[in-house]
């Protein structure tokens, strides 16, 4: 038993450039985009300009959060940055963000390298740090520029992906508030289904890995671009999410009807609708926010959480179940009771 901890505030930022439905109609054709929109529910996506990094989006979100809630920066004793698009291989991007945000020298900083599941993993680490007494106030950041890894002629991924960053402040809460538990999982047998095959140490970037190939579905990419096998990832998600929801509820001795709000990784609307239907969740007990942002990888959950706060769906005492899934393949879920001392949502 340690200290209880929870989310005190959250905010986010998006890439500054709009890639509109109409623009992609020109690139991929009206029929293709009609089909993509009906399946994904994503009409427009916001992407980062060339040269902007995931850390820039995280920084913007952090500045907004710290300024709008008048947070004393000297109170932060750990900053964790979740990303798969770091500024450099070395050092950790969290160290750069620590400097930019003007945090104290006795504040720890490190990265977590995970894709769409990063946020709940980050929450679990932040919670563990607070519960154990190693830290008392943690700034959890996410930031990725996935669109920069996608080939502009990959019709399967371009319409889906957006760029975003987020900042979440965590601290101690009342005894029965905050995080009640976590459920983590991995299936490495699916690692090839969502991957950038070259550019790391295993397969360094070369002339060969930069060769562009167009597949049978008309998607062009090189081995240095992000690849997704949509059917595999979709099937993985719809299989693992219901099982994980049931497992964490059972672990915590809760029933599904005890949960006030279910928040999912905002991958695509067809998948979300399927999961809500399969889990028999009442529409008012969830929240979506992807139509004009796109799938921002690890930032979708803090984004939808922030928007649910703004929509008035997150109230002190509410039980919230959050679940994420993505490359790895990796997944994680948590249940938390929204704390009384949480700061109110900042206006847009």
């Amino acid at each position: 038993m340690g200290y209880s901890s929870g989310i005190l505030a959250a905010d986010y930022s998006l890439g500054s450039e709009l890639v509109s439905y109409e623009e992609l109609e020109q690139r991929f054709g009206a029929e293709a985009m009609k089909k993509v929109y009906s399946g994904s529910g994503i009409r427009n996506r916001r992407v980062a300009a060339k040269g902007v990094c995931g850390s820039d989006l995280a920084f913007e979100a952090a500045e907004r959060l710290l300024d709008s809630r008048k947070v004393d920066r000297s109170s932060i004793d750990l900053v964790i940055h979740c990303t798969q698009s770091p500024d450099y291989f070395v050092p950790s991007t969290a160290c750069l963000l620590h400097e930019r945000l003007g945090l104290k020298k006795t504040c720890g900083a490190f990265d977590i390298n995970l894709s769409c599941s990063q946020y709940v993993y980050g929450l679990s680490v932040a919670h563990s740090m607070i519960a154990s007494g190693i830290a008392s106030t943690v700034l959890l950041l996410t930031g990725d520029t996935v669109s920069h890894s996608v080939h502009p002629c990959d019709r399967a991924l371009v319409p889906l992906m957006g760029d975003g960053g987020s900042a979440t402040l965590l601290g101690r809460t009342g005894e029965h508030e905050g995080f009640l538990g976590f459920e983590l999982g991995t299936d490495g047998s699916g690692q090839d289904y969502l991957k950038i095959p070259a550019g790391g140490y295993r397969n360094p970037a070369s002339q060969e890995t930069s060769l562009e190939v167009t597949d049978a579905d008309g998607n062009t990419r090189s081995r240095q671009n992000l690849y997704m096998n949509g059917a595999a990832v979709f099937h993985f998600a719809i299989s693992v999410v219901p099982k994980t929801v049931n497992r964490i509820l059972q672990k915590l001795g809760l029933r599904q009807e005890d949960i006030d709000l279910f928040l999912f990784h905002q991958a695509n609307q067809y998948m979300l609708d399927y999961l809500v239907k399969k889990l028999r969740i009442a529409p008012e007990k969830t929240h979506f926010h992807l139509e004009n942002t796109g799938n921002t990888s690890g930032s979708t959950l803090p984004i939808v959480l922030t928007e649910a706060c703004r929509a008035g769906k997150v109230k002190p005492g509410a039980l919230i179940l959050m679940i994420v899934f993505g490359a790895g393949l990796s997944w994680a879920a948590t249940v938390m009771r929204w704390p009384e001392n949480a700061m109110s949502a900042a206006s847009q």
């Binding site: 299936d187 049978a216 059917a231 595999a232 979709f234 099937h235 299989s239 067809y270």
Partner: protein, 81 residues
């Protein structure tokens, strides 16, 4: 046409939104219009719900023909009548 073939044809027609579609065992995802990765997802879900079976993630990727679906269903105890 066997009951299994009729059910498969009905699923394919619904998912691919083509009520005139006639499927045969040798038909593959490369040949059947509209059978792309999104349709594959819908087909897998429809098969799971219709036949009360569960496909693995790897099967969802590897099945690329009508015969592939029939073989996978047979391995799960669903056979032609």
């Amino acid at each position: 046409m066997s009951e299994l073939n009729e059910r498969l044809q009905s699923i394919f027609r619904d998912i691919l939104e083509d009520q005139d579609l006639t499927i045969c065992d040798s038909a593959t995802s490369d040949e059947v219009p509209g059978w792309d990765s999104f349709a594959q997802v819908k087909l897998i879900i429809a098969m799971e719900e219709s036949f009360g079976v569960t496909f693995t993630m790897h099967e969802a990727v590897e099945i690329k023909s009508v015969a592939g679906f029939k073989n996978a269903l047979a391995a799960k105890g669903v056979t032609a009548k």
